[in-house]
């Protein structure tokens, strides 16, 4: 177990270094920063002086090492667009995205697993076929079209829910939360529904497929032969084995949620990191893009590592193999 943990963490560090290299290369790609810092008729000597002050005269690997050291401390320099520290910009926007993604992820689990079980247990019922059809349509609709339809229905025509912003937020330390006010909670509904829809259908289909597979196995037949109740078989015996692949997919898709939050945040003018990133892309604001890339990758890599470790904790077979391997 310990060896596995170490191996996994070393691997993650290498991925992060590769991502940092891409982020570093982005700065190199975008022309010479000295040009934008000195006046047009600066002499060669002045240019060299600025270059030396910024450390741009040193070999690339020294610059890369310095970039990584700074990035590890959360320092990505100033945004080219509004000259504020990138780390401050991201920290301001982080709570909005985090709350949106967490609520969407929660919704997809809370709704997806029961719906998956329901459709697996009654494969021929009308409710199952309706749900399957709805999920097919839901997967085929581009997410931003879904969002627009939600706004059109619930904000424009029915007028029930707000269509933009976070409502009133309360500051808890540096974290601004929308969970504590009615308007904040109401503002969360449409964006999180839009964001979770794809995830929800995916989890529902996965649980359904896994559950139907498990229900055909011998140990379920044996449990039936022992005369156990349907309830005990379905929830105690079958569901447990169904959930392991669900955890993997859920973990991997959590990263996807953060990426798709970019679209949701644009549709609902949600003041999160994704909206910040889109602005950076359209203005070619490299420091913000690089910082977003590194931060999101860090979240991805962390989630993937945790999922891998959870796997070992949840599936006793892997633990036995690991122990044998250690001998």
């Amino acid at each position: 177990m310990f060896g596995f943990l170490v191996r996994r963490i070393v691997q993650s560090v290498f991925v992060m270094l590769a991502v940092a290299l891409i982020a570093f290369m982005m700065f190199r790609f975008m022309g010479d920063p000295v040009n934008s810092m000195v006046s047009e008729n600066a002499s060669v000597a002045e240019r060299e002086e600025v270059r030396a002050r910024l450390g741009l005269d040193q070999p690339l690997y020294v610059q890369y090492a310095r970039f990584v050291t700074r990035a590890a401390q959360g320092d990505f320099g100033l945004s080219w667009r509004n000259a504020r520290p990138v780390s401050t910009l991201l920290a301001e926007r982080f709570p909005a995205t985090a709350e949106l993604v967490l609520v969407a992820a929660g919704l997809s689990l809370v709704l997806g697993i029961p719906l998956g079980i329901l459709t697996a247990l009654r494969p021929r019922a009308l409710s199952t076929q309706t749900l399957q059809f709805i999920s097919l349509v839901g997967i085929s609709l581009p997410t931003f079209v879904t969002g627009i339809l939600l706004i059109l229905t619930f904000s424009v025509w029915l007028g029930w829910l707000p269509s933009f912003g976070r409502g009133t937020v309360v500051d808890v330390g540096w974290w601004s939360t929308g969970f504590l006010t009615t308007t904040g909670l109401k503002a969360l509904i449409l964006p999180s529904v839009m964001l979770c829809l794809f995830q929800l259908t995916l989890i529902m289909r996965l649980v359904r497929a896994e559950m139907m597979e498990v229900l055909r196995t011998d140990y379920i037949k044996f449990a039936r032969a022992r005369g156990l109740s349907d309830r005990a078989i379905h929830f105690h015996h079958a569901l447990r084995n169904t959930l392991i692949p669900v955890i993997t997919i859920f973990g991997l898709q959590l990263g996807g949620l953060i990426a798709f939050a970019i679209i949701t945040e644009t549709v609902f003018q949600w003041p999160g990191m994704g909206a910040l990133f889109i602005q950076a892309v359209s203005f070619g604001d490299v420091p913000v893009m690089a910082a977003y890339l590194v931060l999101v990758s860090l979240i991805f890599v962390t989630i993937n590592t945790i999922v891998d470790l959870l796997y070992v904790v949840l599936d006793p077979r892997l633990r036995v193999d690991g122990a044998r391997g250690a001998h």
């Binding site: 581009p142 627009i148 706004i151 269509s163 990426a259 644009t266 892309v281 359209s282 070619g284 991805f300």
Partner: protein, 318 residues
Amino acid sequence: MATPTPASAPPRPAPAGLIARALSGDVAWSFRHSWSARISALVLLILFAAAILAPWLANQNPYDIGELSLFDSELPPAWAEGGDARYWLGTDTLARDVYSSILYGLRLSLIVGFASVALAAVVGISLGLLGGFVGGIVDAAIMRFADVLLSFPTILVALLVNGIMRGALPPAQHQQAAIWVLILAIGLTNWVQYARTVRSSTMVERNKEYVQAARINGVSRAGIMVSHILPNVLGPVLVIATINLGMAVLTEATLSFLGVGMPATQPSLGTLIRIGNEYLFSGIWWVVIFPSVVLVALVLAVNLLGDWLRDALNPKLR
């Protein structure tokens, strides 16, 4: 190795086999018996025709400001109250005919879609062929890079490539270069699937007897790769390309919707939806709904046809 190949008759390359199979009726039979394939093919045929014939089918040229008259802005569809018979699907806030803009937008969406699929296929097939045939460190480098790329969501990678190119170009050129930036961003994001598929079939093919025969005959490595192995690994690429077209169109629409794709002066379907979205609260629903319907129909039809093609070309599933 198991297939006996007479030395006098080299195996026929896959595309020829594909066409022969189609003509002999296997795939055609499957097509006639799949209603979803026939409906999607019909929808696609109509949409492709509409895109190609856009200048003749459209009632106005939405790029020509001279043709617009601001008195006609924000008109609802022709059948609704206050609609104008000249504008079948209504007009937007700039008095552009929604029906005509959709035709031109569809055209742009399809151009970007096809071009980026072609780019992704060329890059992916080349790298897959190279990695599978040469092996060793070249293969390892390509595949590790592909793994890292694949672990990030497509839309994020496309946004990054897009952002890097925008940063590298002077702002004055953003509008003209938009279509090329999109094609490159989407194409360079989607090559991994081709590379993986082609690589695995290349690794099987390179040990077969006809390759050894070519090698004994003194054909160069590049020659073997291009004229002997390539035709035999192209089969599955067709299926990937079809499914990828749907993805590419969707990615283009998403980027344009986010405001980093086609500019408002040259709108694709995604741009039209973005423009419509800005006026949602004025009750002008037609500007956003009709382009969305066309986009969804296009993507759905491509995906259904791709699913069918995958099953029809894979004899194991029949």
